[in-house]
């Protein structure tokens, strides 16, 4: 079925079709709509979900952890300060290996207070042991919400699917929905090894674990993360057969003969692709790489993609506040260290707090990248693009 939906509506629609057992949530701009629309589905009997309107995000994700440890399929949605307040419990969810799925709408973290998009919120939770997938548009947000549930349950790890606040969350686009009956069939029942509700075999979750076994448990969690990429590829392949939409780990656009490229995440991928088309019309060999799966980081696929270009501009909608630039830039530099096909890298930190980036902006970045290709030198490796006084 083809419909017009905003990113939030599309994610709520996906949740309706997924029909989770429990959703616990707390309102926060710009993610509120996802669960609010979902609460209507609950009240109208379109889903069988137990809906818990909690008194804070900390309580919401805690309720999710409790529910998930019984074997329930559990989802929630939040943004910015909400995911920051959940931070403590994010590690509990991944440590207990609970496949909770969060629809995360990217919004800048305070202070100063801002409600618009950047990636500082999701990237502040980067090291919490959650799978992170960044989407480019409404269609992808819808599809990835369904994909993430299956991936998380297969990997026994929690996952967050992100959209860009207001840009995707409130932007209406054409979305193709999978049939209602197909989604539960695609997902199947959640299989669980240990359930809190298995009263015949009582178990303890999250018990004190000191020098004796803590490290082994953490090592097994890391090992689980190490097995996620093949799971994502398999599930994306199955979903492709179901929907006709095939998603990669790393989205390459016109990269085969590209001389210069940009690397980005989220909705900027879409803006960038239009810039690529415009420049291609002028005969310029430009390409784009979009990091779709961010955690775990798809090292091999990313090295293969970046190595095709001679110069790569890395666009980060976040800064690590370490004086080393943005998150994606640091990842890209790290994975390319051992490669003998190292392109020149330049970091463009852009769009903090929702400052817009236009097609023309990206065209101007490509122009700079061509200049680097010509001289073979990056004069300044980290720049703050589109900010006053730069």
């Amino acid at each position: 079925m083809i419909v017009a939906r905003t990113g939030n509506e599309a994610m709520a629609e996906a949740m309706r079709q997924i029909n989770p057992d429990v959703v616990a949530a707390y309102p926060i701009t710009p993610a509120t709509e996802v669960v609010q629309l979902f609460s209507k589905f609950v009240h109208d009997g379109q889903v069988d979900t137990q809906f818990v309107p909690a008194e804070s995000e900390h309580s919401a994700i805690s309720a999710c952890v409790g529910a998930s440890s019984t074997g329930a399929r559990v989802m929630t949605s939040t943004a910015s300060q909400g995911i920051a307040l959940m931070h403590e419990i994010l590690f509990i969810a991944s440590g207990l290996r609970l496949p909770i799925v969060i629809c995360l709408v990217n919004r800048a973290l305070s202070s100063p207070i801002n409600i618009h998009c950047d990636h500082s919120d999701s990237l502040a939770s980067r090291d919490s042991g959650w799978i992170q997938i960044f989407t480019e548009n409404t269609q992808e947000a819808y599809d990835t919400t369904i994909i993430a549930v299956k991936v998380a349950e297969a990997a026994s790890l929690p996952a967050m699917v992100t959209t860009d606040g207001f840009i995707i969350s409130h932007g209406m686009e054409r979305v193709e929905l999978v049939d209602d009956e197909a989604v539960p069939k695609f997902l199947g029942e959640r299989k669980i090894q240990h359930s809190l509700l298995d009263v015949d075999n009582p178990k303890t979750f999250g018990a004190l674990d000191l020098q004796d076994y803590f490290f082994e448990h953490k090592r097994s969690e890391i090992d689980a993360m190490d097995h996620v990429l093949p799971i994502i590829e398999k599930v994306q392949d199955e979903y492709g057969k179901l929907s006709g939409r095939h998603y990669p780990l790393v989205d390459e656009y016109r990269m085969d003969d590209a001389e210069v490229a940009i690397l980005c995440m989220g909705s900027t991928g879409g803006t960038g692709k239009v810039a690529v088309e415009r420049l291609r019309e002028q005969g310029k060999k430009v390409g784009l790489v979009r990091c779709r799966v961010y955690r775990p980081f798809p090292k091999e696929a990313m090295v293969a993609a970046l190595a095709k270009a001679k110069v790569v501009g890395v666009l980060d909608r976040s800064d690590t506040m370490s004086t080393l630039g943005g998150h994606l830039y640091n990842d890209a530099r790290s994975i390319l260290y051992d490669s003998d096909m190292r392109p020149h890298l330049k970091n463009y930190v852009y769009g903090l707090g929702g400052r817009d980036i236009s097609i023309e902006d990206i065209e101007s970045i490509y122009k700079e990248l061509f200049a680097i290709q010509k001289t073979g030198k990056v004069d300044k490796d980290i720049v703050y693009f589109g900010v006053r006084g730069e």
Binding site: P27, S39, E55, I113
Partner: protein, 270 residues
């Protein structure tokens, strides 16, 4: 002569509040009370969390701090301890103060620290689109409770009294003159003073609950408010669905900053 403009950051107007919202009435009442208290602008620190009420500090020319959801009282506690000479005022809403910030609320009252909190109670999360809050009355609708809330609601003033506040008063946006007096009294009270103000939200509370316009809400406050002195002799049945206004609680208790000072003097032997 009293002029609102003197206390406002006039360049930040027009404000963001909806037509008929009570936030502006409370803001003006606060300014009148401050003026009567003869406090200078620099002596005042106005602190807020997140929500419609929490936009207040942006509009006033005091020392102001706009913090995170629910935490205004925690920030204010730190500020008051560091600068006990400042008059610290917190503005907050029902969702901010009693849901996500409920823990800070009860412990600030328990410590009885010299802070004045003004809680704008509109029975709903206004800023995020009308979700039911801890003060949404049983059976009333919110966007997360389209068939009526099934959770009993909090009595904000009662909660503050039980937790240890030394001054607690309740008023409404209709009773603006009374509200001025309560805020003024709260400002002069040593210890934690709390003023709960019932405030209309025509956009997200009145509309789904078919309570009419902002004017209808004001009329409702007028007709359904009972002074505390009179309510004392009424039965629970008679008090049902009424707003009990007045100074509900006014006692003397040791204040936290003074106790803290006394402790440090005792330990240091000065």
């Amino acid at each position: 002569m009293f002029r609102y403009e003197y206390y406002l950051r006039n360049k930040h107007f027009p404000h963001i509040w909806c037509t008929g919202c009570g936030c502006g009435i409370i803001l003006k009442s606060l300014l009148r009370a401050i003026d009567r208290s003869a406090l200078s602008k620099d002596e005042i620190a106005l602190i807020s969390g997140i929500g419609c009420s929490s936009r207040t500090p942006g509009y006033v020319d005091f020392n102001t701090l706009h913090t995170t959801h629910g935490r205004a009282l925690a920030f204010a506690t730190g500020l008051k301890l560091a600068k006990p000479d400042l008059k610290v005022i917190v503005v907050s809403g029902d969702g901010d103060a009693t849901a996500i910030g409920g823990n800070h609320f009860i412990h600030t009252a328990r410590r009885n620290i010299d802070i004045t909190a003004i809680i704008y109670n509109n029975h709903i999360y206004g800023m995020t689109g009308g979700q039911a809050s801890p003060t949404t009355p049983l059976g009333k609708r919110g966007s997360t409770a389209p068939y009526g809330s099934i959770e009993p609601d909090f009595d904000i003033s009662g909660l503050a009294i039980a937790a240890g506040a030394s001054f607690v008063a309740r008023s409404t946006c209709y009773h603006a003159v009374q509200l001025d007096k309560f805020i003024e009294k709260g400002l002069s009270k040593k210890g934690f003073s709390l003023i709960e103000v019932l405030s209309p939200c025509p956009t997200y509370y009145s509309r789904p609950n078919r309570l009419g316009t902002a004017v209808d809400m004001m009329r409702w406050y007028k007709e359904n408010s009972i002074p505390f002195a009179r309510a004392k002799d009424m039965s629970a049945e008679e008090r049902r669905d009424k707003v009990i206004t007045g100074i509900l609680h006014d006692i003397e208790r040791p204040e936290f900053c003074e106790e803290y000072k006394r402790l440090t003097e005792r330990v240091k032997g000065t």
